[in-house]
């Protein structure tokens, strides 16, 4: 059954986030031949419309307004409600990002609709769109369907393939003018801490450090390796609690849940709460000096040794590869 879906194209620092292309890929699976309408919201975003189309949207609706320069749930909700009102879609998808997590429940609440959060795969089964999502931080999974209202979903980064970019595709990018008013929360200041390097939730490679890293400086070799591999640095709670790094890097049941292609755990023992956040990564490497460490039970490859010896050697090897490539 062909269904019309909206996908929010999330903009950060002037570009579209990769997860938005993945959300279009997800919408394609759900739409069953129906139309995919990209949605852009911001103060100057209309130019990005073409890229959404190249990744599979059929056309794009852009809401531009000075009040939408920064994300607020009130402002973005007004913009999206106007688009939903105009388009009357069967469903709407977001990335499972800070923005998607903050905004989607408000809209689903307003429209008394079902929202499936943190979706890792989608299939069509007997006329239903079946969503798979982790529960208990990845210790189990559930399959869900939406039974009431508009079909809302947030798509976890790095799990659903985007369509290949097709530069020959074209489509309509239309402006929709919306009156944005009564913003009840005002952003006074933004301190960028995460701006150095790749975002943890979207990273394809993560180098994570634990208490074994021993100090803030101990993270330096990990950062270097991450840089060579184009990846991000993460941490165990042990490392965060010891103040070696910021809590925003924490991976696990009370931190971020990540699924990169490659996860290198350095000086992390492998507590169950940590495993919950990373054990669904595609390939796991453990570097730990204790051969009995639990992390080796989930690792595809392990090196028993001192991380301060192993990591610089690894970095050198990968550098050589890069030069030769």
């Amino acid at each position: 059954m062909a269904r019309k879906f909206l996908v929010l194209g999330e903009v950060r620092d002037g570009s579209l986030r990769n997860v938005s292309f993945e959300a279009i890929g997800a919408a394609k699976l759900a739409a069953d031949g129906g139309e995919i309408v990209g949605v852009l919201v911001g103060d100057s975003v209309q130019d990005l419309g073409n890229e959404l189309i190249q990744y599979g949207a059929d056309r794009v609706v852009a809401v531009e307004n000075d009040q939408l320069k920064q994300y607020t749930s009130d402002g973005f909700a007004q913009a999206l409600l106007a688009v939903i009102e105009q388009e009357k879609p069967e469903g709407i998808f977001f990335g499972h990002t800070a923005l998607g997590k903050d905004l989607a429940p408000k809209l689903a609440g307003k429209l008394e609709s079902g929202l499936i959060s943190d979706v890792t795969s989608i299939e069509e089964e007997g006329g239903n769109i079946v969503f798979t999502r982790p529960i208990y931080s990845g210790k189990a999974f559930e399959k869900k369907i939406v039974t009431g209202g508009v079909i809302f979903a947030t798509i976890r980064p790095n799990n659903i393939e985007p369509l290949a970019k097709d530069e020959s595709r074209s489509g309509d990018v239309a402006a929709l003018s919306v009156d944005i008013k009564d913003l009840r929360t005002i952003i006074k200041d933004v301190v960028r801490k995460a701006s150095e390097g790749v975002d943890l939730s979207e990273a394809k490679v993560i180098i994570a450090g634990g208490r074994g890293v021993k100090s803030e400086d101990g993270f330096e070799p990990l950062k270097e390796l991450a840089q060579v591999l184009g990846g991000a640095v993460g941490a165990s709670r042990g490392a965060c609690d010891a103040d070696y790094c910021d809590y925003s890097l924490q991976i696990g049941q009370t931190g971020k849940v990540v699924t990169p292609d490659l996860y290198i755990a350095c000086g992390i023992s492998g507590a169950i709460q940590h495993l919950a956040g990373m054990s669904n990564s595609k390939v796991i490497v453990a570097i730990n000096k204790d051969p009995e460490a639990n992390i080796f039970n989930v690792a595809d490859y392990g090196i028993v040794g001192d991380l301060f010896e192993v990591i610089p050697l690894l970095t050198e090897e990968f550098k050589k590869l890069k030069v030769n490539a």
Binding site: K106, K139, A140, F296, A299
Partner: protein, 257 residues
């Protein structure tokens, strides 16, 4: 100030998850206050101690959630409310839970509502924003700092590692992120006092809700456990050789580099 905390009872993070009859097996499992809700309770107590007022902790669930509510009272909350849905609802979702909480709170004139940013079991992070939407009040999620003066609120919000400073006014709902505070342990006198603090138990009837009003908008059709990982390869030999071998394996066998 009239402060409410939304508290969910969840599996202890130490628990392994098993299934029985296609459902999560709860037999013998330990339960705790959802860790993010502990930050919420702690923050509520601190705000009350600074500003005066009262902290009421609400949980939607079964009788068993009484234990976690008593723990919150022992930490220092003043009152607890258990909305027991055991006999009325078979299948609930985040819409259900938010609707029930919203209905309870709609005439309570809450100044500040603090929830956790996410429950570590269901993991959707929906209930806070949904409750705010039902009540028609603003919300700010994943906060790491909260300051209140003369009804004006300034918070720091964690946005994927960046920090936003946001201003708002009361009434407001916020959701707690790790780093907001260090939750206290209940003291022995606290535990004694908690036994005498009011814990009200309500059912849907008491809230003027029919089962139809809270009917879930989603349905779970299957629960399964992830495939067990095969034991991996622990390398051996000289460290330098191990590193070489690892790089080769990542390239040619795992194909991730």
């Amino acid at each position: 100030m009239n402060i409410y905390v939304l508290l969910k009872r969840t599996f202890d993070t130490e628990e392994k998850i098993t299934l029985s009859n296609g459902k999560i097996n709860e037999d013998g499992a330990e339960f705790i206050i959802n860790p993010y809700d502990e930050y919420a309770v702690e923050e509520a107590i601190q705000v009350r101690d600074a500003q005066g007022g009262e902290v009421t902790v609400i949980s939607v669930g079964t009788e068993e959630a009484e234990k976690q509510l008593r723990t919150a009272l022992a930490m220092g909350a003043d009152k607890a409310v258990l909305i027991n849905i055991e006999d009325d609802i078979e299948n609930g979702d985040q819409f259900t839970t938010a609707k029930i909480i919203g209905e309870y709170l709609k005439d309570k004139e809450a100044d500040l509502i603090i929830a956790g940013n996410v429950a570590i079991d269901g993991g959707s992070g929906q209930v806070g924003p949904r409750v705010a939407e039902i009540l028609g009040i603003p919300y700010i999620t994943t906060i790491t700092k909260l300051d209140i003066a003369d009804g004006n609120v300034s918070v720091i919000r964690d946005v994927e590692g960046d920090s936003e400073t946001i201003e708002a006014s009361l009434p407001l709902l916020v959701t707690a992120q790790q780093g907001l505070n260090d939750p206290r342990y209940p003291s022995l006198p606290g535990i004694m006092k908690a036994k005498k603090k009011p814990l009200e138990e309500l059912e849907l009837d008491d809230l003027d809700l029919e089962e139809d009003d809270v009917e879930a908008k989603t349905k779970t059709i299957e629960i399964y456990l992830p495939a067990k990982k095969e034991a991996g390869k622990v390398l051996s030999g000289e460290i330098g050789d191990q590193v070489n071998e690892l790089v080769q394996l990542l390239r040619s066998e795992a194909k991730v580099i």
